[in-house]
């Protein structure tokens, strides 16, 4: 028996629930050397901005226990190059694209959504709300304020062609992730991706200097999985009908199953692509085996399973 793995995220259907996380798979080209990019649910492309961006100075990464800190700072070629060069390549190989966009304000997000909407073959637009809001005096991210986050989502939705789902990508380290989620859904997000990296820091104990340039970085990898699963669980509890893509430290099929039981319809693999370039294919295979071993007919049946009765079993 083979479980039916199809997954609905708003208006789009993916053949299976395993996708890549934004910024952890480029636009699929490099990973295609290690796996068939058409075989996974979708590739979420690195957050693209309107203009080319050079990103942050090095050192950009440090290893931490079961995780890594990074500060790449949205390095990328800008949306036009992305749409002309990277997206067509991915689609030509039969891949599905969730296009992540990053703007410096609602206007720029809207323009990005408009241009991405005009391209053929995109499966969904993901709104990276962890960008710093230049109009915020404290330099906070859009995600830190549900009102500003909702304004961005609303603008993106209105500039995105109907039928193309808009996913809001949430941060975990916010005052109240459920409030943020509800605000984004209220602003007509079709689904939510959660979670982005969590702010943290490491000091290099040889030099006694911050290990990544600028001090703070984003923590990712299995270390943050409990935070991410907690966010997915709480948001699914509050908003059971909203499609969620869960991510944060997925390494194995069992980890993917954990997110699905907490309430995610799809699961994204991020940092693990760095350590295991064929990870997405492996996670999908392991997940399928686990579902089959449980006799699950449809992957959708395990979504939210952890909510269905009390703890223990």
């Amino acid at each position: 028996m083979n479980a039916d793995l199809r997954t609905r995220l708003g208006g789009c259907e993916l053949p299976n629930p395993v996708v890549t996380a934004a910024g952890c798979a480029g636009a699929g080209r490099e990973l295609a050397q290690f796996l068939d990019i058409a075989s996974i649910g979708a590739v979420t492309t690195k957050s693209v901005m309107l203009e080319p961006h050079a990103g942050r100075p090095a050192p950009r990464m440090a290893e931490t226990p079961s995780g890594m800190l990074s500060t790449t700072g949205m390095q990328g070629p800008g949306v036009d190059v992305f749409l002309q060069r990277d997206l067509p390549w991915l689609l030509s190989r039969g891949g599905r694209a969730i296009v992540s966009i990053a703007g410096t304000g609602a206007g720029e997000f809207g323009e990005l959504a408009r241009r991405v909407s005009a391209a053929d073959g995109v499966s969904a637009v993901e709104v990276n709300l962890s960008c710093p809001d230049p109009s915020d005096p404290a330099g906070r991210r859009f995600a830190d304020d549900p009102v500003r986050a909702a304004a961005v989502v609303r603008t993106v939705r209105s500039h995105t062609r109907s039928g193309l789902p808009v996913l809001a990508k949430l941060a975990a380290d916010v005052p109240d992730v459920v409030e943020l989620a509800a605000a984004c859904v209220e602003a007509r997000a079709d689904g939510l991706s959660m979670v982005n990296t969590v702010r943290g820091m490491a000091v290099d104990t040889r030099t006694l200097r911050p290990a990544v340039a600028g001090g703070m970085g984003g923590l990712s990898g299995p270390a943050i999985r409990p935070l991410a699963v907690g966010c997915v669980y709480r948001v699914h509890e509050a908003l059971p009908d909203v499609p969620l893509i869960g991510m944060g430290g997925v390494r194995t099929g069992a980890d993917a199953l954990e997110f699905m039981a907490a309430g995610a319809r799809a699961v994204a693999v991020g940092t693990t692509n760095f350590s295991d370039p064929s990870a997405c294919a492996r996670v999908l295979r392991e997940l399928t085996e686990l579902l089959d071993a449980r006799g699950v007919a449809r992957a959708a049946d395990v979504v939210g399973a952890a909510h269905r009765t009390g703890p223990g079993a």
Binding site: G23, G26, P52, A58, P59, R60, S66, G221, F274
Partner: protein, 299 residues
């Protein structure tokens, strides 16, 4: 999925040897061996399935042999947790290896004179390079340096392969006291070198490039940046490099490198985003630059 790109494999360890201050591990990896060109590297998962150290460790390929369908050797010194773990591997253990990664050293068409400059473990990729150059009829000379005698890499092999081999150590325990760059100018002149190949720490590569420049000799450098993925997807390994078109870009040293033309690397700006780099804060590219970008190949 691609025939000349890198592969990922669980490779049996053939043997682990101590070589002075280094360990040499040979793994059976036919897919990597057959694709290998000198200057390329492997990345190795460390610590086992339940390790808290997630990231692979990159190592230059030091040797490939046809035995057992194809073996790959890399050398390393114990630096931190990953290399300590690797040093405890034994024959028949399995290592998860990805490779060959990165752009190889470009080889001259003609049988020219080449000097190969290595610092510490940075000398590793120069040995297969020396072999390739010899096969093309090039003259090869070595300048190898290290902190102390036991860190000078494969001095005997170097002497065997090369026309001449000069050694330097910081403490004078072997060869000339000093740095490779102290002797490089003289070697270039004595050997009438037409090209320099160098691998080692950034400050060394910068001085090697300056010396080669002063002698009007082209230089290829292989850099060792911290790398989270080694495959081009994480964007953590970037350095500022000037393209053929004169534009500085933050390029990935894992896939756009590790080998660069020395004068293209903006050594003084490593660790910064130069103000004139493509996409730097305040940067405003012309529409021509933008158009060119779309045409550039990404991998």
């Amino acid at each position: 999925m691609s025939d000349n790109g890198p592969v990922q494999a669980r490779c049996p360890v053939l043997n682990v040897r101590r070589v002075d201050a280094y360990y040499a591990i040979t793994v059976v990896a036919p897919g990597i061996a057959e694709r290998f060109r000198s200057g390329q590297f492997v990345s190795v998962a460390v610590g086992g399935d339940h390790s808290s150290t997630l990231l692979r460790r990159p190592f230059a390929i030091h040797d490939v042999k046809p035995d057992y369908g194809g073996t790959v050797e890399f050398l390393f010194s114990v630096r931190g947790t990953g290399t300590a773990w690797l040093s405890e591997r034994r024959s028949r253990d399995l290592l998860d290896v990805v490779g060959p990664l990165g752009r190889p050293f470009p080889l001259p068409r003609d049988p020219v004179n080449c000097v190969l400059v290595g610092g510490g473990s940075g000398s590793a990729p120069l040995f297969p390079l020396a072999q390739s150059l010899r096969r093309r009829g090039c003259r090869v000379d070595f300048v190898l340096g290290a902190a102390s005698a036991d860190r000078v890499f494969s001095a005997i092999t170097a002497r065997r392969i090369a026309e001449t081999a000069v050694f330097t150590t910081d403490d004078g325990s072997f060869g000339t006291r000093g740095r490779v760059t102290d002797v490089l100018g003289r070697v270039i002149e004595d050997c009438r070198s037409d090209a320099v190949y160098a691998c080692g720490p950034m400050p060394m590569l910068r001085t090697v490039t300056a010396v080669a420049d002063a002698h009007g000799v082209p230089v290829q450098v292989a850099v060792e940046e911290t790398m989270a993925c080694g495959t081009g997807i994480c964007m953590t390994c970037v350095i500022p490099v000037v393209g053929e078109d004169g534009i500085t870009r933050m390029v990935r040293s894992c896939v756009d490198g590790p080998v660069f033309r020395g004068e293209q690397v903006r050594f003084d700006d490593v660790g910064t985003i130069p103000f004139d780099a493509l996409g730097a804060p305040g940067w405003k590219g012309s529409s021509a630059v933008r158009a060119a970008e779309s045409a550039r190949d990404i991998a």
